[in-house]
């Protein structure tokens, strides 16, 4: 017999052994080291700095805060906010709340996955987009809704969602072109 937790693909956490500059955390650690109960806040600040939580960062936090790495890992994996792999430049939070569900959020997900050629919780190869399903964004009267880097969009149709993402991709392409022309 197999444990039910094993059945679902992706439920085991993949950690990143990316090497990052741990010095960026010094200020945060100096501020919170003596403050009891600040582990969640430190992890949030660390994620703000690095965009995700590499293994080395979690070990460093454990070491500096005087707690076991298992505790840091346990707390970090408990909360859905924390990520262990880098995210794309645009983080798409696709709402899967009740109102969005009854108004067809699943079709939006299908359309976005097809457009970006990724599954939910994955990042596109060019590092531009990460698609993530979230519980509820609280914009229920605009259902179905998605939020990209803090900006909410709705009510969506599959076509509308795709065109929003395409516009962003186009914008990035233009920016990249401009950048390379400037270099020349």
């Amino acid at each position: 017999m197999q444990c039910c937790c094993e059945e679902k693909k992706g439920s085991s956490v993949r950690l990143s052994d990316a090497r990052v500059d741990l010095g960026l955390l010094n200020e945060v650690l100096d501020h919170y080291r003596e403050q009891e109960g600040s582990l969640v806040t430190v992890l949030q600040k660390a994620q703000e700095i690095y965009g995700f939580l590499p293994l080395a960062v979690m070990r460093h936090i454990a070491d500096q805060m005087g707690v076991k790495p298992a505790k840091v890992f346990g707390v970090a994996t408990f909360y859905t906010q924390f990520r262990f792999q880098p995210v794309g430049k645009y983080l798409i939070l696709l709402c899967q709340g009740t109102a969005c569900h009854v108004n067809g959020s699943e079709r939006i997900e299908t359309a976005l996955c097809q457009e970006l050629k990724i599954k939910a919780e994955e990042t596109t190869g060019d590092g531009l987009f990460t698609l993530s399903n979230v519980a509820c964004l609280g914009c229920c009267s605009l259902a179905p809704v998605m939020m990209i880097n803090g900006q909410a969009y709705g009510p969506l149709t599959p076509d509308k969602a795709v065109s929003i993402v395409r516009d962003l991709a186009k914008k990035e392409k233009a920016l990249a072109k401009e950048g390379s022309e400037n270099e020349n």
Partner: protein, 586 residues
């Protein structure tokens, strides 16, 4: 003349920013000296973006679904005393059942003041309640005022607020805490977001009043990270309140000191449960613990702590300002005052409404909410989020108060009402909620952790057309076990969505299990899309729109869907022109 533009998350999503830009440009172009104010959400989300014109007599004209190119005409018209009738949704003689049917207590300032300006709040009577408490009431008298009001916690359970405050006051301790639970996790509820975005000071003031009553020195607002705008506006409001002397040391010379900080949640539904919230505040995994001791006795860092919901605090401020009796004059015998509801789902006029307790569900959904989108048939309303249940059409006359809603098997919760029509499959809804609670179970209690997983498996099986006889009984049996074996309300109430749907929609379950049929055409394994060869004119629209290219044929001749390849996305049904109406789902 003054204009106001709704700049809540929902307004911005609907396009309020370009409307705001247009307002500034047009005012300058027309040479009008008008004040342009940004406000929070007034609740009429179905008409966003919203623009109010307040004329010199104080009369308000509300325009809905405003586009940037309409703004010039609206401003120019009003400068000559004319209105633009086609976009007018309220005021100027236009009746609006959505707004006119409301009594706004908690939401009194939402959509009216600029949430980033403390002076706007003060102009509307802000901080007078705190001044009254500090200058002329004793802490016990504040608690008495709340008792008279009959206010019950708006976060879900409906526990009397005064009782919690009295306990927290009674329990000894030099250091006590006042916590605001803004971890609004129920999918389908957004009143707390709207309040924090639209009127953050009323929540801060309510917290300060409560802190004075129980003797707390520090306040913490635990706000979910999914609400970035609410967090930003809270931070601004706290800084302004400190600057104006309404927070901090020795508030207005009263000798009472109290300050507030915001703590961002990290994404865990269970943290809405108060003991889990406290664990999370202490930097731990947000896992609930056994009560007693209640937080009033041993809460944050083991000290007496009181936890109330956002809406409760907004009510507290109103009650201390207007008197408990005025609040108690509204509502029913056991559920006093007003309640904010979030109307969403298949409803015509979605948004936030605040009504006195005791209206019927029909009044809220049909008279105020305008009924069902596309005039389809009402099927059920889901109340109480994942802890709640689905209330069927036959019970639409149920009055909205804590006891009556609980009797239906649902739950008042924080006030989310997700309306469902005939195209919503109730088995799928039960599966949806169990999927949610199963993912959000913290894992502490075996019955909740494994029980919800097993229930979800059964529901998935039924939705996939593999349901067996005895499945309903199995679900009901597991529901009892999970309910009895779980420590906190997440587990205790997790089976509710399943139990209520089985109770009211048993036939729909039977259709899935016995006939392998989904009457609402939602469960993909149980439906198929076909094209009626007599009606199809070969316009190719569906074939072009099919994401897996499984619709074959030649233009101008009937097309067919290759069933083995179809992913049942429904695009073909949607794009088939209504004059042909050739795509069938069964």
């Amino acid at each position: 003349m003054k204009i106001r533009i709704g700049m809540g998350s929902c307004g911005i999503a609907a396009g309020a920013l370009p409307v705001m830009d247009a307002a500034h440009e047009e005012a300058e172009r027309l040479g009008l000296d008008i004040e342009i104010q940004s406000t929070g959400c007034i609740g009429m989300c179905h008409n966003e973006p919203l623009l109010d014109v307040v004329d010199d007599d104080g009369q308000v004209f509300t325009y809905g679904k405003v586009t940037p190119d309409q703004v010039g005409a609206i401003l120019e018209g009003h400068s000559k005393g004319e209105v633009l009738p086609k976009a007018l949704v309220h005021g100027g003689g236009v009746k609006n059942d959505f707004m006119d049917g409301q009594v706004r207590v908690a939401l009194r300032n939402c959509g009216i003041i600029d949430p980033e300006k403390i002076d706007d709040y003060i102009e509307r009577g802000g901080y007078q309640a705190l001044a009254r408490a500090l200058n002329s009431l004793k802490p016990e008298q504040v608690i008495e005022e709340i008792k008279v009001s009959g206010l019950r916690g708006r976060g879900g359970a409906g526990f009397p607020t005064w009782f919690k405050w009295r306990e927290a006051r009674k329990n000894p301790g030099d250091i006590k805490y006042m916590v605001c639970n803004a971890d609004e996790g129920d999918p389908g509820a957004f009143m707390d977001r709207s309040l924090l975005e639209g009127d953050p000071h009323s929540v801060l003031e309510g917290m300060a009043i409560g802190a004075f009553a129980i003797g707390a020195i520090e306040g913490i607002i635990y706000c979910r990270a999914e609400y970035p705008l609410a967090i930003r506006r809270l931070e601004i409001a706290i800084a302004q309140a400190r600057g104006a002397g309404w927070l901090g040391e020795n508030i207005k010379g009263s000798g009472f000191s109290f300050d507030i900080r915001v703590k961002q949640g990290a994404g865990a539904f269970v943290c809405g449960e108060e003991t889990a919230l406290l664990a999370s505040l202490e930097g731990e995994r947000g896992m609930p613990r056994l009560k007693p001791p209640f937080p009033a006795e041993s809460g944050y860092w083991g000290r007496p702590t009181n936890i109330n919901n956002v809406e409760t605090f907004a009510n507290v401020t109103w009650i201390v300002q207007n008197g408990g009796a005025a609040f108690a004059a509204m509502g029913t015998e056991t559920s006093k005052g007003t309640k904010v509801f979030a109307l969403a789902g298949k409803i015509k006029n979605g948004g936030l409404v605040e009504v006195p307790m005791g209206l019927t569900l029909r009044q809220v959904i049909f008279d105020i909410g305008g009924g069902i989108k596309g005039d389809r048939r009402f099927k059920a309303v889901q109340m109480g989020g994942p802890s709640g249940g689905c209330i069927p059409e036959a019970l639409l006359e149920t009055t909205v108060d804590y006891e009556s809603i609980t009797k239906t098997g649902a739950f008042m919760g924080s006030g989310g009402m997700v309306v469902m029509d005939e195209t919503t499959c109730m088995v799928d809804i039960a599966r949806f909620f169990l999927d949610f609670t199963q993912k959000e179970s913290c894992g502490k209690c075996v019955q909740c952790r494994i029980g919800t997983k097993r229930m979800l498996e059964v529901l998935e099986r039924i939705c996939n057309g593999e349901g067996k006889s005895g499945d309903l009984e199995l679900l009901e049996e597991m529901a009892v076990t999970i309910n009895q074996g779980s420590l906190c309300n997440l587990g205790v109430s997790a089976p509710n969505p399943v139990l209520t749907t089985i109770r009211y929609f048993r036939d729909e379950y039977r259709a899935h299990i016995e006939e392998k049929r989904c009457p609402s055409h939602q469960c993909k394994a149980l439906i198929s899309y076909t094209i009626d060869p007599d009606k199809c004119k070969g316009c190719v629209l569906c074939a072009r729109k099919c994401p897996v290219s499984c619709i074959k044929g030649e233009p101008k001749k009937p097309y067919t869907i290759v069933q083995e390849e179809c992913i049942k996305c429904g695009n073909c049904l949607e794009v088939c022109p209504s004059k042909f109406n050739a795509v069938r789902v069964q």
